[in-house]
């Protein structure tokens, strides 16, 4: 398996910069996901790695080989990059059977019939589609087409696997199931994978590392948990779920003994402790992020370490697994997720609290 390296990769469409100075290294056998809102340049980045689009700036290497260098005008066409790709539309050729679709990459490489037969059936078995081999491919469901597309991408053992929103055409239940199956397959084969999605939970569940993109630029690269719990900027923080973002001023900053810093912050009508990735001088403005599931509702007046707010319950929505509660405080309305069993009374005066390691500050 090979690594993929992008150095200052840029793509312009006329005056529009679709991808702007992207630097990324996908290690051998790693599963990396490009995540971001629509139009942020995920597909363009993937297609540049695939060689379906030429980068207008920077350099792309696969393994030890440079495959595209804009400055030197060097470009290896897609068919010689030894990549597997799964398209968003699956791109299953409708004039061929399932078998012929999967066999195509091998036939192009002029393998013997015996080898083709063995490897295609192996690939189909991998995705549990061997009983469909002789089906004409238009007679497949969305999920089956997706499996065929994966089998086709894997059959010639590519260096790297590229996937562009492969699950977005499936329904919610199938999406989770196929995602988990695919992750298992990837870990078993240890194949380097670059995956594009705009679904946050999919990205977190599947990847070793997530790349958050916005406006053609990379905002942050990190393990799913890091990105979710310790975002580097307000934008990344706001991208996942619906966190509470509060304006505050730093009173005091000290190392917490580990990798991070502990801050004393003060907002409008509240104060307390939180964490940050970097040292932030006293007096600086910060945004404190607290996720709804980490907030607890207690009796009025009760307080411990961390952060706490006094307020009054203004709204409660039953959502099945949990209950969304809105608490009006002196600063702003907080969004809290509580277990749905707990009963809440609208208008009740309460204290909302969060432990200090669930509150994360970024410079605003």
């Amino acid at each position: 398996m090979a690594s993929v390296t992008l150095e200052n990769v840029t793509r312009m469409y006329g005056a529009v910069t679709a991808v702007d100075q992207v630097n990324l290294r996908v290690k051998s056998g790693e599963f990396v996901t490009l995540l971001g809102p629509s139009g942020c340049g995920k597909t363009t980045t993937l297609r540049m790695v695939a060689g379906l689009e030429k980068n207008t700036g920077g350099r792309i290497s696969i393994g030890d080989n440079v495959v595209s260098d804009a400055d030197k005008g060097y470009f290896v066409p897609s068919e010689r990059r030894r990549l597997g790709m799964v398209f968003q539309s699956y791109a299953i050729w409708p004039h061929m059977t399932v078998f012929d679709n999967v066999a195509y990459p091998l036939r192009i490489r002029r393998r013997t019939d015996k080898e083709i037969q063995d490897r295609v059936m192996n690939a189909l078995r991998l995705v549990e589609m061997e009983q469909y081999a002789e089906r004409p491919s238009p007679a497949l469901s969305g999920g089956q087409q997706q499996r065929v597309a994966i089998a086709r991408a894997l059959v010639f053992e590519p260096e790297v696997l590229l996937l562009d929103e492969p699950l977005s055409n499936l329904d919610a239940r199938l999406r989770t199931q196929m995602g988990d199956e695919f992750r298992q397959l990837q870990q078993r084969l240890k194949i380097t994978t670059l995956y594009v999605t705009h679904d946050q939970s999919e990205a977190m569940a599947l990847s070793d590392r997530v790349v958050v993109m916005h406006g053609g630029k990379i905002l942050q690269v990190g393990a799913p948990e890091d990105i979710y719990r310790r975002p580097e900027s307000r934008q990344v923080a706001a991208f996942f779920g619906t966190p509470n973002l509060l304006q505050a001023k730093v009173r005091n900053c000290r190392p917490n003994g580990g990798q991070y810093y502990k801050l004393d912050v003060e907002g409008r009508g509240w104060s307390g402790e939180c964490h940050a990735a970097i040292e932030i001088p006293a007096g600086a403005d910060v945004t404190v992020m607290v996720r709804p599931e980490n907030l607890q509702i207690g009796e009025a007046g009760a307080a411990n370490g961390g952060l706490s707010w006094a307020g009054e319950i203004s709204q409660a929505i039953f959502r099945g697994p949990h209950r969304s509660v809105m608490v009006k405080t002196a600063d702003q309305t907080l969004h809290i997720e509580t277990p749905s069993l707990a009963d809440v009374g609208i208008g009740r005066a309460v204290t909302v609290a969060a432990p200090s390691d669930a509150a994360w500050a970024v410079r605003s």
Partner: protein, 588 residues
């Protein structure tokens, strides 16, 4: 709403409570009497336009004397066409059509690929230029090429002789090659219009995934692109092949002088060029060619059944334009060259021919405006202009109206008899203009005395109506298929009557298709020659007929003038269409 999903509105009107409206609208929307009258009227009209001439054709082929004379029934006509000479004619017809379809399709696919899939500069303009020859009446280009490629005095040969000094001509259009060459000029843009959107609509990831699998561009083109296009290519091939068999102008102009006969010119000759017209022979031959067409249409059906690949997916779709680098100027040049050969050269020849006293003698002293004067002071010319415009405007409107109604009944209602109507409207599809002309010749002659249609412009109008109906129905069927039933039903639910719904929703939404069809039909009428030449008489000549008569008298110079006028008209209409009607012809 899902229950009534694929039922038509009128079932609902029948079974459910009527939504709004008074007794009259109810009578037309659901009432059986109004519907019956409407259907009978449609059947009568279509019957007169298609079944009646067909029946008369059959009658004529079995009857020994021309229409109106006493005679007997026999099989002499069919016996007469069973000759070895006619076998040769058949081989010629099929051979020439094949010979023009194969290269035309190749070039058309190449052009379509250039326009739809490469970054060739000025593609939008090029597309308009490439498709222009489709709208030029073939009789114009035929005459222009007759002058360009004439072995003695054609411009090409004059230039060739003065460059090379050789006494032999470079080209001679009066040959098999000439016939094929001329047919190609019309076929290529026709096939281009047919295939270009298939290229455009294809999901590019189907090709890209082939490249990702390690296939080169060329392999991808062969194994994926072409095979995916196969259904479209097959149907265009068949269509073009059928058109080739029906073709009249090319073999008339370039085949007959060289003794090359095809079926259409043979029919024409047996009526127009014999001391006594042999009607029985002509009708028998017409019937034979219809049999051939029928077989071809059946074959086409068999080939295409269940073979349409829906390749448009929409999701994750991005336009895939191949970057050609410096090669894009080569493809650009190819498109321009095509335009020059098919439009600039013939139009230039017409211009040249119109300003010199005699065509072929292009010297300064020969410059003159006398042909323009002669044409503009010729009352026959003006009458032909009036006739053509009148027939074009009226014919296109009537054809499209009929097509819109037939398509509506067959697509959007469940009325009994709708497949009969559909079938009747489709019949002329198998009849070349020549054959339909012969059929109508008999049909009009057999009408009872007090209905004097034969010899008037109405004869032509009826023939055009019949010839245009299949295309009109096709265009409108396509348009209706794209309008969901919800639109119609929603209007009814919100209180509009059937008529109001038709007018405000259906007409409002379907009119772009109607307009495109109208323009197509109008051009069709303007270029129609083979039926007109049989059905016209003094006073009801069309421009195409006048052109042919002048040409036959050797008056190539005035032909050039009239040809130029027609070209102007074509360009004007095409411009109006491109400017004001956004719907695409090839989409239908």
């Amino acid at each position: 709403m899902t229950i009534i999903h694929n039922r038509s509105l009128d079932d609902i009107a029948e079974t459910g409570p009527t939504l709004g409206g008074n007794a009259v609208t109810r009578a037309f929307s659901g009432g059986s009497i109004g519907r019956l009258i409407g259907m009978l009227a449609l059947i009568a009209i279509l019957g007169f336009l298609t079944i009646y001439p067909l029946a008369m054709l059959l009658y004529g082929s079995l009857h020994s004397t021309p229409p109106g004379l006493a005679g007997e029934f026999n099989l002499n006509g069919y016996r007469a066409i069973m000759t070895t000479q006619n076998f040769l004619v058949l081989i010629n017809t099929v051979g020439i059509s094949l010979a023009k379809t194969v290269p035309s399709l190749t070039i058309a696919v190449f052009l379509a690929w250039i326009i739809a899939r490469t970054d060739t500069p000025f593609r939008g303009t090029l597309e308009v230029l490439i498709t222009l020859p489709f709208f030029i009446p073939p009789i114009l280009t035929a005459m222009a090429w007759g002058m360009l490629g004439n072995p003695q005095v054609g411009v090409i040969n004059l230039v060739w002789r003065s460059i090379s000094g050789s006494p032999d001509p470079l080209v001679n259009v009066y040959s098999y090659g000439g016939v094929v060459w001329h047919m190609c000029q019309y076929s290529i843009p026709f096939l281009f219009l047919f295939t270009v959107d298939a290229f455009r609509a294809m999901d590019p990831s189907l090709e890209e995934s082939s490249r990702m699998c390690g296939a080169s561009r060329w392999t991808t083109f062969r194994k994926i692109t072409l095979l995916l296009m196969l259904p479209v290519l097959t149907s265009s091939f068949m269509l073009s092949f059928i058109r080739g068999i029906e073709s009249f102008e090319s073999p008339l102009f370039f085949g007959l002088p060289a003794g090359i006969k095809v079926i259409t010119t043979d029919i024409y000759e047996s009526i127009n060029h014999r001391a006594t017209p042999d009607y029985q022979y002509a009708t028998s031959l017409s019937f034979a060619i219809m049999g051939l067409m029928f077989l071809l249409v059946i074959w086409q059906w068999a080939l295409l059944r269940g073979k349409s690949f829906q390749t448009v997916t929409g999701k994750g779709f991005r336009p895939n334009v191949m970057e050609l680098g410096p090669w894009r100027w080569v493809t650009f040049g190819f498109c321009v060259l095509f335009f020059i050969i098919t439009v600039v050269l013939p139009v230039g020849q017409l211009l040249l021919g119109s300003f010199f006293r005699f065509f072929g003698f292009y010297t300064y002293e020969m410059l003159t405006l006398e042909h323009y004067r002669a044409v503009f002071s010729n009352s026959e010319f003006w009458r032909a202009v009036r006739n053509t415009m009148m027939l074009g405007l009226l014919g296109a409107t009537a054809t499209m109206a009929l097509g819109a109604v037939v398509a509506y009944v067959s697509v959007r209602t469940r009325w009994r008899g709708r497949s009969l109507i559909d079938g009747m409207a489709w019949l002329p599809w198998m009849m070349p203009g020549m054959v339909l002309g012969v059929g109508f010749l008999w049909a009009f002659a057999m009408l009872p005395g007090p209905i004097p249609i034969y010899g008037t412009v109405w004869a032509l109008l009826l023939a055009y109506l019949a010839l245009g109906t299949p295309v009109a129905v096709r265009v409108m069927t396509g348009a209706y298929h794209q309008l969901s039933y919800d639109l119609e039903e929603c209007s009814r639910v919100h209180g509009a009557s059937w008529f109001q719904t038709m007018w405000r929703i259906m007409v409002a939404l379907a009119w772009p298709a109607f307009a495109v069809g109208w323009v197509l039909t109008f051009f069709g009428i303007m270029r129609e020659l083979s039926a007109s030449i049989l059905l016209y008489s003094v006073g009801s000549e069309t421009l195409a007929v006048v052109l042919l008569k002048l040409w036959a008298n050797g008056n190539a110079e005035q032909v050039s003038v009239i040809g130029l006028m027609m070209m102007l008209l074509v360009i004007l209409f095409r411009w109006v269409q491109l400017r004001f009607i956004k719907a695409r012809i090839s989409k239908l």
